[in-house]
Amino acid sequence: MSGLESYINHTVSIITADGRNFIGTLKGFDQTINIIIEECHERVFSTTAGIEQIVLGLHIIRGDNIAVIGLIDDTIDSRLDLANIRGEPLGPVVH
Protein backbone atom coordinates (compact mmCIF):
# COMPACT_ATOMS: atom_id res chain seq x y z
CA MET A 1 0.00 0.00 0.00
CA SER A 2 1.02 3.57 -0.57
CA GLY A 3 3.35 5.21 1.91
CA LEU A 4 0.65 7.77 2.64
CA GLU A 5 -1.30 5.22 4.70
CA SER A 6 1.03 5.77 7.65
CA TYR A 7 0.39 9.55 7.53
CA ILE A 8 -3.36 9.14 8.14
CA ASN A 9 -4.55 11.05 11.22
CA HIS A 10 -1.17 12.78 11.49
CA THR A 11 -0.34 16.42 10.88
CA VAL A 12 1.00 16.95 7.38
CA SER A 13 2.35 19.84 5.37
CA ILE A 14 1.21 20.07 1.75
CA ILE A 15 2.99 22.12 -0.87
CA THR A 16 0.74 22.68 -3.85
CA ALA A 17 1.68 23.28 -7.46
CA ASP A 18 0.86 26.98 -7.08
CA GLY A 19 3.44 27.27 -4.27
CA ARG A 20 1.07 27.44 -1.30
CA ASN A 21 1.67 25.62 1.98
CA PHE A 22 -1.23 23.92 3.78
CA ILE A 23 -0.94 22.32 7.23
CA GLY A 24 -3.58 20.00 8.64
CA THR A 25 -4.55 16.48 9.64
CA LEU A 26 -4.58 13.96 6.81
CA LYS A 27 -7.93 12.13 6.96
CA GLY A 28 -7.87 10.28 3.68
CA PHE A 29 -6.53 9.95 0.15
CA ASP A 30 -7.19 7.97 -3.02
CA GLN A 31 -5.26 6.55 -5.97
CA THR A 32 -4.88 9.94 -7.66
CA ILE A 33 -3.63 11.48 -4.37
CA ASN A 34 -6.71 13.59 -3.91
CA ILE A 35 -6.52 14.19 -0.16
CA ILE A 36 -8.77 15.16 2.73
CA ILE A 37 -7.25 17.64 5.17
CA GLU A 38 -9.01 18.46 8.41
CA GLU A 39 -8.41 21.70 10.36
CA CYS A 40 -6.47 23.02 7.43
CA HIS A 41 -4.31 26.14 7.86
CA GLU A 42 -2.48 28.01 5.16
CA ARG A 43 0.90 29.47 6.06
CA VAL A 44 1.73 32.56 4.06
CA PHE A 45 5.42 33.43 3.98
CA SER A 46 6.72 36.94 3.59
CA THR A 47 10.11 38.63 3.74
CA THR A 48 8.75 41.70 5.50
CA ALA A 49 6.46 40.16 8.15
CA GLY A 50 6.16 36.93 10.11
CA ILE A 51 4.33 33.87 8.81
CA GLU A 52 0.62 34.51 8.58
CA GLN A 53 -1.60 31.55 9.43
CA ILE A 54 -5.01 31.49 7.78
CA VAL A 55 -7.56 29.06 9.17
CA LEU A 56 -9.43 27.28 6.40
CA GLY A 57 -11.13 24.20 7.89
CA LEU A 58 -12.00 21.02 6.01
CA HIS A 59 -10.46 20.70 2.55
CA ILE A 60 -10.32 18.26 -0.34
CA ILE A 61 -7.21 19.02 -2.36
CA ARG A 62 -7.08 17.56 -5.84
CA GLY A 63 -4.07 15.32 -6.53
CA ASP A 64 -3.11 17.21 -9.72
CA ASN A 65 -2.33 20.21 -7.61
CA ILE A 66 -0.14 18.53 -4.97
CA ALA A 67 3.64 18.72 -5.21
CA VAL A 68 4.80 17.50 -1.78
CA ILE A 69 3.20 15.90 1.29
CA GLY A 70 5.40 15.89 4.40
CA LEU A 71 4.86 14.53 7.88
CA ILE A 72 4.98 17.18 10.62
CA ASP A 73 6.34 16.51 14.11
CA ASP A 74 3.78 18.31 16.28
CA THR A 75 6.16 18.96 19.18
CA ILE A 76 8.79 20.55 16.97
CA ASP A 77 6.17 22.46 15.00
CA SER A 78 4.58 23.92 18.13
CA ARG A 79 7.98 25.29 19.15
CA LEU A 80 8.18 27.42 15.98
CA ASP A 81 7.85 31.14 16.53
CA LEU A 82 5.86 31.80 13.38
CA ALA A 83 5.55 35.55 14.01
CA ASN A 84 9.32 35.93 13.75
CA ILE A 85 10.09 33.67 10.82
CA ARG A 86 10.72 35.43 7.50
CA GLY A 87 10.94 33.70 4.20
CA GLU A 88 10.27 34.19 0.55
CA PRO A 89 7.03 32.70 -0.69
CA LEU A 90 7.45 29.76 -3.05
CA GLY A 91 6.70 30.23 -6.70
CA PRO A 92 4.48 27.94 -8.70
CA VAL A 93 5.77 24.67 -10.13
CA VAL A 94 7.37 25.26 -13.53
CA HIS A 95 6.78 22.50 -16.08
Binding site: K27, G28, L58, I60
Partner: protein
Protein backbone atom coordinates in the same frame (compact mmCIF):
# COMPACT_ATOMS: atom_id res chain seq x y z
CA UNK B 1 -11.81 7.80 4.10
CA UNK B 2 -11.88 8.54 0.39
CA UNK B 3 -12.00 12.15 -0.80
CA UNK B 4 -14.80 11.34 -3.22
CA UNK B 5 -16.99 9.77 -0.54
CA UNK B 6 -16.53 12.91 1.54
CA UNK B 7 -17.53 14.95 -1.50
CA UNK B 8 -20.60 12.78 -2.04
CA UNK B 9 -21.57 13.26 1.59
CA UNK B 10 -21.25 17.01 1.10
CA UNK B 11 -24.14 17.04 -1.37
CA UNK B 12 -26.66 19.82 -0.56
CA UNK B 13 -24.04 21.57 1.60
CA UNK B 14 -22.44 24.91 0.72
CA UNK B 15 -18.86 24.82 -0.49
CA UNK B 16 -16.09 26.86 -2.03
CA UNK B 17 -14.34 25.50 -5.09
CA UNK B 18 -11.09 27.00 -6.34
CA UNK B 19 -10.13 26.20 -9.90
CA UNK B 20 -6.60 25.87 -11.23
CA UNK B 21 -7.02 29.22 -12.97
CA UNK B 22 -7.63 30.92 -9.61
CA UNK B 23 -11.37 31.54 -10.02
CA UNK B 24 -13.49 30.52 -7.05
CA UNK B 25 -17.06 29.26 -7.08
CA UNK B 26 -19.27 29.46 -3.99
CA UNK B 27 -22.45 27.43 -4.08
CA UNK B 28 -24.40 24.43 -2.88
CA UNK B 29 -23.27 21.05 -4.18
CA UNK B 30 -26.03 19.36 -6.16
CA UNK B 31 -24.20 16.30 -7.47
CA UNK B 32 -20.76 14.90 -8.18
CA UNK B 33 -19.30 11.89 -9.96
CA UNK B 34 -16.20 9.74 -9.74
CA UNK B 35 -14.20 12.23 -11.85
CA UNK B 36 -14.99 15.01 -9.37
CA UNK B 37 -17.16 16.74 -11.98
CA UNK B 38 -19.63 18.74 -9.92
CA UNK B 39 -22.95 20.58 -10.20
CA UNK B 40 -23.41 23.68 -8.06
CA UNK B 41 -26.56 25.71 -7.41
CA UNK B 42 -26.92 29.40 -6.39
CA UNK B 43 -23.36 30.16 -7.39
CA UNK B 44 -21.18 33.21 -6.91
CA UNK B 45 -18.10 33.16 -9.11
CA UNK B 46 -15.15 35.33 -8.10
CA UNK B 47 -12.35 36.25 -10.49
CA UNK B 48 -8.74 35.33 -9.75
CA UNK B 49 -7.92 38.81 -8.44
CA UNK B 50 -11.07 38.80 -6.31
CA UNK B 51 -12.54 42.07 -7.57
CA UNK B 52 -15.16 40.83 -10.03
CA UNK B 53 -18.18 38.70 -9.19
CA UNK B 54 -20.82 36.85 -11.15
CA UNK B 55 -24.00 35.33 -9.83
CA UNK B 56 -25.49 32.34 -11.61
CA UNK B 57 -28.33 30.01 -10.69
CA UNK B 58 -26.30 26.90 -11.44
CA UNK B 59 -23.08 25.69 -12.99
CA UNK B 60 -21.23 22.52 -13.93
CA UNK B 61 -17.49 22.24 -13.24
CA UNK B 62 -15.20 19.71 -14.87
CA UNK B 63 -13.32 17.83 -12.13
CA UNK B 64 -9.91 18.14 -13.76
CA UNK B 65 -10.03 21.96 -13.53
CA UNK B 66 -10.43 21.94 -9.73
CA UNK B 67 -7.57 22.89 -7.41
CA UNK B 68 -9.34 22.31 -4.12
CA UNK B 69 -12.74 22.27 -2.42
CA UNK B 70 -13.48 23.80 0.95
CA UNK B 71 -16.26 21.96 2.77
CA UNK B 72 -18.12 22.68 6.05
CA UNK B 73 -16.32 21.04 8.99
CA UNK B 74 -19.31 18.99 10.13
CA UNK B 75 -19.52 17.03 6.87
CA UNK B 76 -16.59 14.81 7.82
CA UNK B 77 -18.57 13.48 10.80
CA UNK B 78 -21.50 12.60 8.57
CA UNK B 79 -19.43 10.45 6.23
CA UNK B 80 -18.16 8.29 9.04
CA UNK B 81 -21.06 5.86 9.45
CA UNK B 82 -21.64 5.52 5.74
CA UNK B 83 -18.20 4.97 4.24
CA UNK B 84 -16.65 3.12 7.13
CA UNK B 85 -19.47 0.58 7.24
CA UNK B 86 -18.80 -0.03 3.57
CA UNK B 87 -15.07 -0.62 4.05
CA UNK B 88 -15.82 -2.94 6.96
CA UNK B 89 -18.10 -5.01 4.74
CA UNK B 90 -15.39 -5.17 2.14
CA UNK B 91 -12.90 -6.44 4.70
CA UNK B 92 -15.36 -9.16 5.69
CA UNK B 93 -15.94 -10.19 2.11
CA UNK B 94 -12.22 -10.57 1.60
CA UNK B 95 -12.00 -12.68 4.72
CA UNK B 96 -14.76 -14.93 3.42
CA UNK B 97 -13.03 -15.31 0.11
CA UNK B 98 -9.77 -16.29 1.75
CA UNK B 99 -11.47 -18.86 3.96
CA UNK B 100 -13.19 -20.51 1.04
CA UNK B 101 -10.08 -20.76 -1.04
CA UNK B 102 -8.52 -22.92 1.59
CA UNK B 103 -11.53 -25.14 1.98
CA UNK B 104 -11.95 -25.76 -1.69
CA UNK B 105 -8.37 -26.79 -2.19
CA UNK B 106 -9.09 -30.47 -2.64
CA UNK B 107 -11.95 -29.96 -4.98
CA UNK B 108 -10.27 -29.03 -8.19
CA UNK B 109 -10.46 -31.45 -11.08
CA UNK B 110 -13.39 -33.72 -11.60
CA UNK B 111 -16.94 -32.58 -11.74
CA UNK B 112 -17.80 -31.30 -8.37
CA UNK B 113 -20.25 -28.75 -9.69
CA UNK B 114 -18.30 -26.01 -8.03
CA UNK B 115 -17.01 -24.22 -11.09
CA UNK B 116 -18.21 -20.70 -11.68
CA UNK B 117 -19.88 -20.80 -8.35
CA UNK B 118 -19.01 -17.21 -7.60
CA UNK B 119 -20.88 -17.05 -4.33
CA UNK B 120 -19.24 -20.31 -3.25
CA UNK B 121 -22.34 -21.16 -1.29
CA UNK B 122 -22.56 -24.78 -2.41
CA UNK B 123 -18.94 -25.41 -1.75
CA UNK B 124 -19.56 -24.72 1.86
CA UNK B 125 -22.44 -27.10 2.33
CA UNK B 126 -21.55 -30.03 4.52
CA UNK B 127 -18.55 -28.20 5.85
CA UNK B 128 -20.34 -26.59 8.67
CA UNK B 129 -20.73 -23.42 6.62
CA UNK B 130 -17.05 -22.68 6.83
CA UNK B 131 -16.48 -19.08 7.66
CA UNK B 132 -19.99 -17.95 8.48
CA UNK B 133 -19.51 -17.68 12.25
CA UNK B 134 -16.43 -15.56 11.69
CA UNK B 135 -18.26 -13.04 9.54
CA UNK B 136 -21.17 -12.81 11.92
CA UNK B 137 -18.90 -12.45 14.88
CA UNK B 138 -17.46 -9.33 13.34
CA UNK B 139 -20.73 -7.63 12.55
CA UNK B 140 -21.62 -6.10 15.93
CA UNK B 141 -18.37 -4.11 15.92
CA UNK B 142 -19.84 -0.72 15.00
Amino acid sequence: MLPLSLLKTAQSHPMLVELKNGETYNGHLVSCDSWMNINLRDVICTSKDGDRFWRMPECYIRGSTIKYLRIPDEVIDMVKEDAQAKSRNRAEMNKNRGGNAGQNQNQRGGRNGNRNNFGMRQGNQGQGQGNRPLAQGNKPRK
